[in-house]
């Protein structure tokens, strides 16, 4: 083999190697870019999913009302909210459970003082919506379920100092509100009973 031929071979070899290195770099850049894009996409999708899930159950829309009055009275009380979220109330509390007729505010407010959530619904609420409320109320203590005339939304959840208005009974915030407020941190008299008062719930 001549000197010239050897030189050409060496040049061709190094050119080939350089080309291989370039190809390898390109491949690496493509792999890294693809990985970054895929990982980024997954992260964005997961964040969006979690945020959407949280927004569905978020209790941001719950109104917090400061209630200071909590005396016993036999007289009728005028409450600023309908249904009320606490205040002066009747000496006897409403027994928790499911009622088919409207209740006296003054008795249910006393149950709210004991940790109950009042699930009030508009009379004439569609049956499938009412069934959801019944199912939620049946398996739980410290829930008063009753129709409420002149309600500002189809379903209104009220505990001591807290209220949430819902357009539908299948709103996931129903469970979230019940969980957060049945005997929740805002309960003035935790440990007090929701039976042994007045009223005969149907279930």
């Amino acid at each position: 083999m001549g000197k010239n031929a050897e030189g050409t071979l060496k040049e061709r070899l190094s050119a080939l190697q350089a080309e291989q290195r370039r190809a390898e770099r390109r491949r690496r850049v493509v792999m890294i870019s693809v990985s970054v894009v895929v990982a980024g996409g997954l992260a964005v999708a997961a964040t969006a999913f979690v945020q959407a899930d949280r927004a569905g159950r978020s209790l941001d829309a719950v109104q917090t009302i400061n209630v200071s009055a909590r005396n016993h009275t036999d007289k009728a009380v005028s409450y600023p909210q309908a249904p009320p979220v606490g205040g002066d109330h009747a000496p006897e509390w409403q027994n928790c459970g499911i009622y088919t007729k409207p209740l006296r505010n003054e008795n249910v407010v006393h149950s709210q003082e004991h940790g109950a959530v009042w699930v009030a619904f508009r009379p004439g609420l569609p049956k499938e919506q009412l069934d959801i409320l019944l199912k939620q109320a049946q398996g739980r203590d410290f829930v008063v379920l009753s129709p409420y005339t002149g309600l500002s939304a189809p379903v209104v959840l009220s505990s001591w100092g807290k209220q949430l208005k819902l357009d539908r009974a299948d709103d996931p915030r129903l469970t979230a509100f019940l969980r957060a407020n049945i005997n929740g941190p805002g309960t003035p008299e935790p440990g007090a009973s929701c039976s042994g008062g007045v009223g005969e719930p149907s279930v």
Partner: protein, 215 residues
């Protein structure tokens, strides 16, 4: 030793070592310290359902104190009401300290399936927990008086205590010392009271017939 090209740089090697060490010690800490019981734990389920179960015992005890003048029954009822109301407070405080809501997401008694306990008589709509009296039975108790009320009370409270014993047995599998201690104390107290109530029924010449709808 030859490292793959990426690890040849010392900085990378140190970083990898640090990350691995942190991950392993984190894992070790998690294994060593389990933290407070979670929302779906046996402990949380016991604390929630036993509060409701106890609350009915307190309710029945307060009803019978209004319905009889018998000293022995009234004393037993006083004992049940004060003891169980105090235990309700303890269980309420556990959930509060564990940062868990008092109301459950799970259906009643789901936690007992974790304890491999078979619960006969579960699932009736009002008597969802073992031994719970139905609304009708409570109404009967409120309307009875004297010896009739005493007999009815004893006949309702015996299965109620038996249900409480079952729940307490399931909670003895807990790794939380205070939960285990409470479960043992409920177990011992209610088993003893069942015997006491059986004696009281016998003294009244009444049989321990199971009330029809009790679980």
């Amino acid at each position: 030793m030859r490292f793959p090209p990426l690890l040849r740089r010392r900085g990378v090697l140190v970083a990898v070592t640090v990350v691995l060490t942190l991950a392993l010690s984190g894992l070790g800490f998690r294994l060593w310290y389990a933290g407070p019981p979670g929302d779906a734990s046996l402990e949380a389920g016991f604390a929630r359902d036993m509060q409701a179960h106890h609350a009915q015992a307190v309710q029945m005890a307060l009803i019978i104190r209004d319905r009889t003048t018998d000293r022995q029954v009234r004393t037993l009822a006083y004992d049940i009401a004060t003891t169980q109301q105090q235990q309700i407070g303890q269980m309420y405080a556990w959930l509060d300290m564990w940062g868990l809501p008092q109301a459950s997401l799970e259906p009643r008694m789901a936690w007992m399936r974790q304890g491999h306990q078979n619960m006969p008589g579960m699932g009736q709509q009002t008597a969802q927990m073992p031994g719970m009296a139905t609304r009708e039975q409570l109404k009967q108790l409120e309307q009875a008086s004297g010896k009739e009320a005493e007999t009815l009370f004893l006949r309702l409270m015996i299965p109620h205590h038996q249900g409480g014993v079952q729940m307490a047995q399931a909670a003895q599998g807990s790794g939380q010392p205070q939960v285990k201690r409470m479960a043992s104390s409920i177990l011992a107290a209610q088993q003893a009271e069942i015997e006491l109530m059986r004696g009281m029924l016998a003294a009244r010449g009444a049989a321990e017939t199971s009330p029809p709808a009790a679980g």
